[in-house]
């Protein structure tokens, strides 16, 4: 069934057809419905195959005053503030190739629609790895991951996208193709627009390709799974690790709700209020041995219940299980997913406060922690009677610890009513930037954090 369009909509769709060809434009109800964001169904979906096409489409959006929603796999569209209007969705799905793998330079340039998991697989075949493992779905694209600035366990050792990305090509909100950075390890020429684009949620540009750092795979990859009956002890080990000379690849803590899902992949069982500390080690044999020895000692000194050490493919197994658990528990549409960011020494306190708040409202709250970054992800069921009470409590707790808490993803009605942003003094400047770079408000209107409304 094709719905009736206004003359203006038809003219816009016609223009899109001229740009990408009729096979890559769809106004079919089934296709547009699949690309609904925040309850807003676009009237047209266009599939772009090149930066040039993206540029032409955005120019057409400006000309016809139609808003455009950039789309990778759609897995993180319900993150952040609500979209205000969706005329067209531009899908970068056809842009899914490696443009250049430069092994001698240790960089890879990929199109934005490339699926992260596919990229990881292709790099692994050549003994290489990309230290960018955000908690996303099997189909999440690199472009979408950069636009939402998501991250994963490896940020402990390698930083976030803002550290791993060397260059970005993007289409500006007015349709210009712009380049920022490049393929060198250092680059300070001009204003660093790449930093601005990463995490801008498609409001300042559509990322079309990127150059990222890659590394040779380590000699040894090992995973230490340490079960603690008490969260206090697990966080004590993290504090001592942070003060030590050790350099683990990642340091994650999960509660029983999440830990339970890791048992089939080798995770030790947890007690009711237990916490699983997962430390990954990657490096030379000597490095791994030393890490294993010291961390085991630290754990024993802090009342560890059981220790499991995984090696080789078992490490992949536990990492996959962790990602899958995150995906199913935290990104389900019926879940309120939040994120707290606190100083490193306050992580344990925040963890306990989250658990206490859950008990107060009679809602189990699942928590995972990037233990080297002070980031705690929370999840609870959206059917809870009074979600705003929990959120307000957590906002207050995080602020009291010199950090913040915010709802990242949640069902629509909840995000419209309940999403409270931490107060900041730089939102005004962000709005000015958006207005200046996107004068007709074409790209993802309303999605700007701290924006109007």
């Amino acid at each position: 069934m094709t719905p009736a369009f206004s003359a203006e909509q038809s003219a816009f769709s016609q223009r899109l057809t001229e740009i990408v060809g009729s096979a890559s434009v769809s106004t079919d109800e089934r296709v547009t419905a699949e690309h609904t964001v925040d309850g807003l169904k676009p009237f047209v979906v266009v599939f772009a195959s090149s930066a040039e096409q993206v540029s032409q489409v955005v120019k057409a959006g400006n000309q016809f005053e139609k808003t455009i929603v950039p789309w990778g796999s759609g897995s993180r569209q319900s993150v952040g503030p609500c979209l205000a209007r969706a005329d067209a969705v531009i899908s970068l799905k056809p842009m899914n190739k490696i443009i250049e793998l430069d092994v001698g330079n240790y960089t890879v340039q990929v199109e934005a629609g490339m699926v992260n998991r596919d990229l990881h697989r292709q790099l692994a075949e050549q003994g290489l790895f990309l230290p960018f493992d955000p908690f996303c779905t099997e189909t999440s694209t690199i472009g979408g991951e950069l636009a939402t600035n998501v991250s994963g366990p490896s940020r402990a050792a390698y930083g976030t996208a803002r550290d791993i990305v060397l260059g970005i090509t993007a289409v500006s909100p007015t349709g210009d193709i712009i380049h920022t950075g490049g393929k060198t390890m250092k680059n300070v020429a001009g204003i660093d627009l790449g930093k601005l684009l990463i995490g801008s949620q498609g409001t300042l540009g559509i990322i079309t390709d990127t150059v990222m750092r890659i590394f040779p795979q380590a000699e040894v990859n090992r995973s230490l799974l340490l079960a603690f009956p008490d969260a206090e002890d697990a966080f004590q080990v993290v504090s001592r690790l942070l003060a030590s000379k050790l350099t683990p690849g990642s340091v994650e803590l999960v509660d029983r709700l999440v830990g339970h899902h890791l048992e089939p992949a080798g995770g030790p069982p947890l007690e009711e209020n237990g916490v699983l500390l997962m430390v990954s080690i990657s490096g030379s044999r000597e490095d791994a041995e030393r890490h294993q020895k010291d961390i085991s000692t630290l754990a024993e000194e802090n009342k560890v219940d059981s220790t499991v050490i995984l090696d080789g493919t078992e490490v992949n197994g536990i990492e996959n299980a962790y990602h899958q658990a995150h995906q199913s528990l935290f990104t389900s549409p019926s879940v309120v997913q939040g994120k707290a960011s606190v100083p490193l020494s306050k992580q344990g306190e925040m963890f306990r406060a989250i658990k206490k708040t859950g008990s107060k409202y009679g809602v189990p709250v699942g928590v995972t922690v990037h233990g080297y970054n002070g980031i705690l992800y929370t999840r609870f069921d959206a059917s809870v009677a009074d979600p705003s009470g929990i959120i307000n409590d957590l906002n207050g707790t995080a602020a009291g610890l010199d950090g913040f808490f915010m709802v990242e993803a949640a069902p629509l009605q909840f995000r419209k009513n309940g999403a409270v942003l931490p107060p900041r003094s730089d939102y005004k400047l962000m709005r000015l930037l958006k207005n200046s770079l996107d004068p007709r408000n074409i790209l993802n209107p309303g999605k700007l954090v701290g924006g109007p409304g």
Partner: protein, 472 residues
């Protein structure tokens, strides 16, 4: 032209002891570490955020240029007051406000000297990883303004990775905070946008920095090669073996000779290239790394591999490298330092082309490089008494910028654009790229008072250059 009444107003803000306007004093702030000189109209030394804001408000009202300056060590003309105005000298905002090792954080004022912070962190066993060669003098505010690098960025990354947040005074005097004291702050990364913006978007008045525990131990190796190719292949092979040293510096024959004229660091004066490699990490893994690197060096026909046996020997080797620019200055007081960066596997062809440029202009070009990063520092020597040679040196510099761009690299990896590389920007960016940057500049500084004329080349000059073609 600044009126006497304006200077009086500024005196009211910062106090009589924190303002200079005599010709003699203005001269002292008329230059940086490049060979250019232009006169400012007044120098102020604010001691607080409120004073910075007060000065900026006055400047904003009267549309007077404001150039934020730390220690003036920059190598791109970034703090040259070529349009007069106010030099906002931040060296008196030099307090370390907090060292919080439990949270891997230090809070500092922008005028704190990089090495002073390192020294304050040392008793706690912590470091701030960015270590520009100028660290004995350069300020952290300046490091942030330029997004400074340094030898140890190979392993740890550049300044932008180590800034949690900043307090910033905007061009109208408003004070805001970007980033924060924790990670993943919501909204656009204005922190990342401001870092490296060379004082053109705002002035940082307080920095929250990320500090890390000092590595357990380190080893310093001096590796001597007969050819540049062998040295460079060694660099590639080390990274390919999964070893990321703390630093991996390449030093050419001319520079080694200059270093040895000044201090006896123990460098050879007859080898084409030496590598100064610093390994850092756990005691357990370094013995093995040294063995692996020795094997790689043997394979690449090393002439000699020396391992510093004591910390004094380590320090001597590093003193040689850190003093390289100064050593060159002793044999030739005037030179231009380039800092282009190319893909790591393009470093050797780039260096050969630099040699050709030297021959073409009959110039001596010495070279040091952060080899692991592909970041080269050709030092173009010239005689200030020889006008033709000055012109040649400038032309050679422009050609090296173009060369680095054409190799798929950048005109500047560390030192910034400033005034020196304004026109080279056209070789790296399209007019669309530059226009997007100008829009950002206009949002932050609509009156154009913050370090005007730096970083972004004038739009009207675009027609004089063939800007980079937009890739499809």
């Amino acid at each position: 032209m600044i009126q006497q009444s304006f200077i009086k107003e500024l005196t009211g803000i910062v106090g009589r002891d924190n303002i200079l306007s005599s010709r003699k004093d203005l001269l002292a702030y008329s230059y940086d570490s490049t060979s250019r000189q232009e006169m400012p109209e007044v120098i102020v030394f604010p001691r607080s955020t409120a004073e910075v804001s007060g000065v900026i408000k006055a400047a904003h009202r009267d549309k007077v240029p404001v150039i934020a300056r730390g220690a003036g060590t920059n190598l791109s003309g970034g703090t040259i007051p070529d349009r007069g105005g106010i030099i906002l000298e931040l060296s008196r905002m030099n307090r370390i406000l907090d060292i919080d090792t439990a949270n891997h954080r230090a809070v500092v004022q922008p005028g704190v000297v990089n090495l002073d912070l390192q020294n304050a962190l040392a008793p706690f066993g912590f470091v701030f990883p960015p270590d520009p060669a100028s660290q004995e003098m350069s300020t952290l505010g300046g490091n942030v303004g330029e997004n400074a690098g340094g030898p140890h960025c190979l392993k740890h990354g550049v300044t932008s990775k180590y800034v949690y947040g900043m307090e910033v005074v905007l061009s109208d005097g408003e004070v805001i905070n970007v980033g924060g004291s924790v990670e993943d702050n919501p909204g656009y990364d204005l922190r990342g946008l401001l870092i490296g913006s060379e004082g053109t978007l705002g002035i940082a008045t307080r920095l929250t920095l990320h500090i890390i525990p000092k590595p357990e131990t380190s080893r310093t190796l001096l590796v001597i090669f007969e050819t540049l190719e062998n040295a460079s292949q060694t660099v590639s092979d080390i990274i390919g073996a999964g070893i990321i040293p703390g630093a991996m510096e390449l030093i050419d024959k001319t520079t080694c000779w200059a270093i040895e004229q000044g201090i006896s660091a123990g460098y050879p004066t007859d080898a084409e290239a030496v590598l100064l490699i610093e390994l850092e990490g756990l005691q357990d893994s370094l013995d093995r790394q040294v063995r692996d690197i020795s094997e790689i060096c043997q394979k690449n026909k090393v002439r000699e591999l020396r391992i510093a046996k004591t910390s004094a020997e380590q320090a001597a080797l590093w003193q040689g490298r850190r003093g390289a620019f100064g050593a060159i200055a002793r044999i030739c007081p005037q030179y231009i330092v380039m800092d282009g960066t190319v893909p790591r596997n393009k470093m050797v062809p780039t260096i050969h082309r630099v040699d050709e440029i030297a021959k073409k202009y009959h110039l001596t070009i010495a070279l040091v490089a952060h080899a692991g990063d592909g970041n080269i520092h050709p030092l173009i020597l010239f005689d200030t008494g020889n006008p033709e040679e000055i012109v040649s040196a400038r032309k050679a510099g422009d050609e090296i910028c173009e060369l680095c761009s054409s190799m798929g690299g950048t005109i500047t990896g560390e030192h910034g654009v400033g005034l020196e590389k304004l026109h080279a920007m056209f070789t790296q960016f399209s007019s669309a790229d530059l226009s997007a940057m100008r829009r950002v500049k206009e949002v932050f500084d609509p009156e154009g008072i913050l370090n005007p004329g730096k970083l972004l080349p004038p739009e009207e000059d675009e027609s004089l250059h063939e800007t980079k073609e937009v890739a499809g």
